[in-house]
C-alpha cells in the first residue's frame, strides 16, 4: 500500500480561488449592523469593504426642524452606550454660542456623570471584546458593574440608557444625597472589581496571543485618517482633549493619559488599545473621587430664556467621548432651530480605516481588530 501523500503543488485539481464572504449585517462581532464584504484567499483577507447605513436615521435632517432643546434626545441616540458624553458635547456647543455661564455645581455633576458613563462604555467594550475572542465570563462581570452605573443614572435622570439629563444651562435635576452616596459606594468598590477584570482577561495567555502584534495601526495612519480617542492613544500618541484643550472643569482635575507602550506586543496593536481603555477606567475613578470631594453647593441651572435663539454664526466644539472625539459643527441663522448640525463621529473615522488595515489579516484577526476599535453603529450611521 502506498501511503505517500501528494503535495498540494503537484495536485492540479486543487487550486485556490478568491471567495467573497459577507460578514454581517447580523454578526455578533460587528457590534451592531455593520456589513463587511470581505474577499478572502483561504483564510487571509485580501480586501474588505465596509457597508454602513443600516442604522441611518438622518438625524441631522431631523435636528433642523427641532428647537435647540429638542435636539438633546436626538444626540442621546448617537452613541447609545455613552449618551451622557454625547449630550455634554452638544450642550457645550450651544452654550458657547449663547455665551452662557454655568453654575459650578452643574459643572461638577456633568463631569461626574460623563466619567461614570465613560466607565460604563469601556466596560461594554471590555466585555464584548472578550466575547469576540471567545471568552464569555468577563462579559458577565463587566455588566454587573455597568448595572450599578445604570442604577445611579436611573436614580438621577429616570432613564437607564437614554437620559436627556444634561440640559442647556446646567443639568435637569440636582443630585440627591442618596445619589452621591451611591456614587461614592461605586467608586469605593470599583478598584477591587478592576483587579478582577485584569486577572480575567489582560494577562490571559490566549487573549494575549490573539491580540498582541495584531492589527497594528501606525501613528502616521492615525493622523491621515483623523483617528482619535483610545485608538490614537493606543498607537502611542498622548492626545486627550480633557488635557490638551480642557473644557468644563477638567483643567482643575488631576489625572493621567494612558498611552499604548507595546508592553506585550508592538505599539498600536489590539492589546494596547484594549489596555488603554482599561487604565482609562481607573483614571475616571480618580476624577470622580476628586469631584465628590470638591463638589460645591448651589444652583444647577443657569438662567436661560424660554426660547433659545443663538446669534447667527457657526461653531465647532469637540469633546472627549469614550470612543474618541465627538465634534458638533453647529451653524445657526439666528432662528429657534439649528440651521445645520453636523456630527463628527469618531467611530465613522475608525470604520473608514478598516479597508486600509484589513488586507493580509486572518479572518479571526479581523474580528479582533474591529472589536478593539470599539465601534457603535448608531454613531457611525447617525
Amino acid at each position: 500500500m502506498n501511503y505517500s501523500v501528494k503535495s498540494v503543488e503537484q495536485d492540479e485539481s486543487i487550486k485556490s480561488e478568491k471567495l467573497i464572504v459577507n460578514m454581517g449585517p447580523q454578526h455578533p462581532a460587528t457590534h451592531g449592523v455593520l456589513r463587511l464584504e470581505i474577499e478572502t484567499d483561504s483564510e487571509i483577507v485580501t480586501k474588505a469593504i465596509p457597508h454602513i447605513g443600516y442604522l441611518h436615521r438622518c438625524m441631522e435632517k431631523h435636528c433642523e426642524s427641532m428647537d435647540f432643546r429638542g435636539v438633546i434626545p436626538f444626540v442621546d441616540r448617537l452613541d447609545y452606550l455613552a449618551s451622557m458624553n454625547m449630550e455634554h458635547g452638544y450642550v457645550l456647543a450651544v452654550e458657547q454660542m449663547l455665551g452662557l455661564e454655568i453654575p459650578r455645581r452643574a459643572e461638577y455633576i456633568r463631569v461626574m456623570v460623563a466619567e461614570l458613563q465613560r466607565i460604563a462604555s469601556h466596560l461594554v467594550a471590555f466585555g464584548t471584546y472578550g466575547i469576540d475572542l471567545g471568552a464569555f465570563t468577563p462579559f458577565l462581570y463587566a455588566f454587573q458593574q455597568r448595572e450599578n452605573i445604570l442604577s445611579i443614572f436611573e436614580s438621577i435622570s429616570g432613564g437607564r440608557l437614554l437620559y436627556n439629563y444634561i440640559w442647556i444651562g446646567g443639568v435637569w435635576h440636582d443630585l440627591k444625597s442618596s445619589d452621591l452616596e451611591m456614587i461614592s459606594n461605586f467608586v469605593a468598590e470599583f478598584e477591587e472589581q478592576w483587579q478582577r477584570y485584569d486577572t480575567l482577561l489582560t494577562q490571559n495567555k490566549i487573549f494575549k496571543e490573539r491580540t498582541a502584534h495584531v492589527g497594528i495601526i501606525p501613528q502616521a495612519l492615525c493622523h491621515e485618517y483623523g483617528a482619535t480617542g483610545p485608538v490614537l492613544r493606543g498607537s502611542g500618541i498622548s492626545h486627550d482633549l480633557r488635557k490638551d484643550k480642557p473644557y468644563s472643569i477638567y483643567s482643575e482635575l488631576e489625572f493621567n493619559i494612558p498611552v499604548g507602550e507595546g508592553s506585550v506586543g508592538s505599539v498600536g496593536d489590539c492589546w494596547d488599545r484594549y489596555y488603554v481603555r482599561m487604565v482609562e477606567m481607573r483614571e475616571s475613578i480618580k476624577i470622580i473621587k476628586q469631584c465628590l470631594d470638591g463638589i460645591e453647593d448651589g444652583e444647577v441651572m443657569a438662567k436661560v430664556s424660554k426660547v433659545i435663539k443663538p446669534p447667527a454664526g457657526e461653531i465647532y466644539v469637540k469633546t472627549e467621548a469614550p470612543k474618541g472625539e465627538i465634534g458638533y459643527h453647529l451653524i445657526s441663522d439666528g432662528k429657534k432651530n439649528p440651521y445645520r448640525l453636523k456630527v463628527k463621529s469618531p467611530c465613522f473615522t475608525h470604520v473608514s480605516m478598516v479597508p486600509e488595515l484589513a488586507p493580509g489579516m486572518m479572518i479571526a484577526d479581523l474580528v479582533a481588530l474591529i472589536g478593539s476599535l470599539d465601534i457603535v453603529l448608531g454613531e457611525v450611521d447617525r
Binding site: 454602513i52 447605513g53 441611518h56 438622518c58 441631522e60 435632517k61 458657547q96 454660542m97 455665551g99 495612519l221 493622523h223 491621515e224 485618517y225 483623523g226 500618541i237 492626545h239 490638551d244 484643550k245 443663538p310 446669534p311 454664526g313 457657526e314 461653531i315 465647532y316 469637540k318 465634534g327 459643527h329 451653524i331 445657526s332 440651521y339 445645520r340 453636523k342 463628527k344 465613522f348 473615522t349 473608514s352 486600509e356 450611521d381 447617525r382
Partner: protein, 198 residues
C-alpha cells in the same frame, strides 16, 4: 491664528481669492475660491508653520441659492483648528451637476467624508476614486439634506409612510395645535389692527 494662515496663503499662492471672517460669536473661517482649493489644502497640510495634518470633517450646507462646503482641519502639533470654506451656486436646471475638486488624494479621511457629502447633498467631487452613496442605499433617489428634499412615497414598492402605521391621534393633535396657533395669531393681529384704528 487665522490672519497668520491668510497671510501665508496670500504669500504662497498667486491671485488667490481668500477672505477672512472673524465674527464676535463662534468660530471664524476662511473663505476661498474653488479654483485654488486643492492648492490651498496642500499648503495647509505641507507647510511646517501651519501643519494641518488632519482633516476632521467636511460639512455640506444647503444655503438655498448656494451650497457651502466647510472643511475642518486640525493641527495636532499646534493644537488648533481651522474652518476652510467654499461657496458655490447650485447649477440651474439642465446644467451639469455641481463639481468640486476632491482632496482625497491629500487626506485619506476625505474619502468617506466626500462620499457622505455627495450622498446627502448631491455635490459631486471631481476625480474621487469611488464616489458611491454611503449612508443611503445605492438605489435611493434624492439627496436628503437639500432644503427642497421630498421623500419618495415608495421605495422598491414599499410604502414609506404607510397610513395604518401612522398614529392618527398624534397627527390630529398636531393639526389641532397648528390651527389653534394660527387662530391665536390671527386674533392677535386683528386686535392690533383694531387698536391702531382707535
Amino acid at each position: 491664528m487665522l490672519d497668520k494662515v491668510v497671510s501665508k496663503i496670500g504669500e504662497k499662492i498667486k491671485d488667490v481669492d481668500c477672505q477672512l471672517s472673524t465674527p464676535e460669536v463662534g468660530d471664524g473661517h476662511i473663505l476661498i475660491g474653488v479654483k485654488h482649493l486643492v492648492e490651498v489644502v496642500r499648503l495647509l497640510c505641507e507647510d511646517i508653520d501651519l501643519s494641518f495634518r488632519t482633516l476632521q470633517l467636511i460639512t455640506g450646507t444647503d444655503r438655498g441659492e448656494s451650497v457651502e462646503i466647510s472643511y475642518l482641519f486640525t493641527s495636532f502639533k499646534f493644537k488648533h483648528d481651522l474652518i476652510l470654506k467654499i461657496v458655490l451656486p447650485w447649477p440651474a436646471e439642465g446644467e451639469e451637476a455641481l463639481m468640486v475638486p476632491t482632496i482625497s488624494h491629500l487626506f485619506k479621511a476625505a474619502d468617506w467624508q466626500e462620499r457622505e457629502c455627495f450622498d446627502m447633498l448631491g455635490v459631486k467631487f471631481k476625480n474621487h476614486p469611488d464616489l458611491r452613496r454611503l449612508l443611503c442605499p445605492d438605489d435611493w433617489t434624492g439627496h436628503p439634506l437639500r432644503r427642497d428634499y421630498q421623500a419618495e412615497a415608495k421605495y422598491n414598492g414599499i410604502e414609506i409612510y404607510p397610513e395604518n402605521k401612522s398614529n392618527a391621534e398624534d397627527a390630529s393633535f398636531a393639526a389641532r395645535q397648528r390651527e389653534a396657533e394660527k387662530a391665536a395669531k390671527a386674533k392677535a393681529a386683528a386686535e392690533a389692527a383694531a387698536a391702531e384704528k382707535k
